[in-house]
Symmetry: C2
Subunit: 326 residues, 2 copies
Amino acid sequence: MATRRLFGGIDLGGTKIQTVVVDDGHEVLGEARHPTPTSGGPARVAAEMAAATRDAMAAAKLEPGGLAGIGVGSPGDVDEERGTVSGARNLPDWEGSFELGQALAESLGAPVRVGNDVGVATQAEAQLGAGRAYRSLLGVFWGTGVGGGLVLDGRHWLGRGGAGEIGHMVVKLGGRRCTCGREGCMEAYAGRAAMEARARKLHDDGRKTDLFKTMRKHGRDRLTSGIWERALETGDKLARELIDEAVEALGAGIASAVNLLDVEAVIIGGGIGVRLGQPYAERIANEMRPHLFNDHRPPAVEVAALGDLGGAIGAALLVASSDAGR
Amino acid sequence: MATRRLFGGIDLGGTKIQTVVVDDGHEVLGEARHPTPTSGGPARVAAEMAAATRDAMAAAKLEPGGLAGIGVGSPGDVDEERGTVSGARNLPDWEGSFELGQALAESLGAPVRVGNDVGVATQAEAQLGAGRAYRSLLGVFWGTGVGGGLVLDGRHWLGRGGAGEIGHMVVKLGGRRCTCGREGCMEAYAGRAAMEARARKLHDDGRKTDLFKTMRKHGRDRLTSGIWERALETGDKLARELIDEAVEALGAGIASAVNLLDVEAVIIGGGIGVRLGQPYAERIANEMRPHLFNDHRPPAVEVAALGDLGGAIGAALLVASSDAGR
């Protein structure tokens, strides 16, 4: 027990904060999930992240101060050296740069490292999850937005620091306006935020749907992955239509990435991706097929094996692997 | 003179066969260009490649048998081990697999290595041309088709052997039919073969254009890069419209690739790319901009510095660098 070191991992998402406590064998000893605050800016988000970490520690029956380090997977522009996050578009009121690492280190009393959310989730799948068998893979995180992570020849590819923006590959010239302001991005069709905005507009225009009724019934203020899933199960026509468009856009965008990179595997993760699971991974693979140039040899398409916890486990790897290297 | 070794390079294109003779410092001592035969299949093409190589040798005042090795950059599916080429869609009557390396070695009396045309041209630009200053780049070869080559962290990225098919990235879901049979590919708008088919259809439908008149006047049977350039210069409206569409599709597709990979530079080569040069590289960069996610830091966009000879020089590198390694 004296030699076992424990690590915290925090996955900061647009909808939820997922935390884990893992041991040095990457086993999850405790976890917690809090909704991401929708107001109050970065300081409020950081306080909620700390609270969710304490809850995961309590679930692991761990005393305060018991973590050797905490890793964070964050959206936005992450400066890993300084532990700052700026331009986190999918987080509320996150203007300018915020010293997230320092705020959490002070609050939790342990060293903190901050990395890119999609990057750490991809690393987790590559090292511990559905990507273990492959040397090259594309992680596609289908959630509030659509993020991508690349492992090429066993190494995480970041380009000049900003690689992996698969959600903003253009799938339709002159197409739908994206939440990022650009036109025809894959995320404009497949991101949950964009899908919700589209559903709301069509509903306001008179289209029938139970999506918003179900949302209110479950006490939510946005269309979560669970609500989309329920609507598909009950045969809600608008929901089905929007998910069909999302799957079509994902198929085209992912096929484009595969035509460019010829990776061995595509791992589908993210809130909706994990929730809808294998049948939808297969639907995405089917939508990719007509666009694949090397169609005799499609890549494997698999659901993220670490599920909802992949991002948080990957975040913990930021400190667990740097610790191991010391 | 006794220690200087000379190498041949052959760039096999859908329209022309370009050959060079280079010394071990990569200096071009002689070159020749023959039209690619439009009938007779692989054997006829191989014979023309040998003839064009002999012409380059004659231009370099070199005796038969004077080459230490010959490299070939070929379209289609290249088996580098066996020197075979199959499925070369942009070459006439090239059904099944053909032992191109062996045919040329017998005809020219020197060892032959065959590589992918776009791959060798990208390597040439990365090592000797416009890409020398960059560790990561995307080569875009805008010609009969639109090919792509990737250098990531200084190494040529081939994936499982088929990477770089940037021409078949989807830029418009439900869009124009590509010459490959798929829908909405970048090449369906930007490839010279697709542009010619589109121009012919619109002309047959009654649109006015001098493209085909100019073609016949210059004794051509297809719309070469030079004919497109002339039509742009004389303000031919249909030509301008189709080139505008091509530039728009290139901008979207290349921006998508940059969003995914965040490379330092994009090198624009290929028959049309080199012919239209810097002003059109700038137009492509302008069309990329609205789609770039990291728009504060666009990649450099440059014209291939080795021009029309890049493919042939890159092909020679296949034997020159393997020779150097012995």
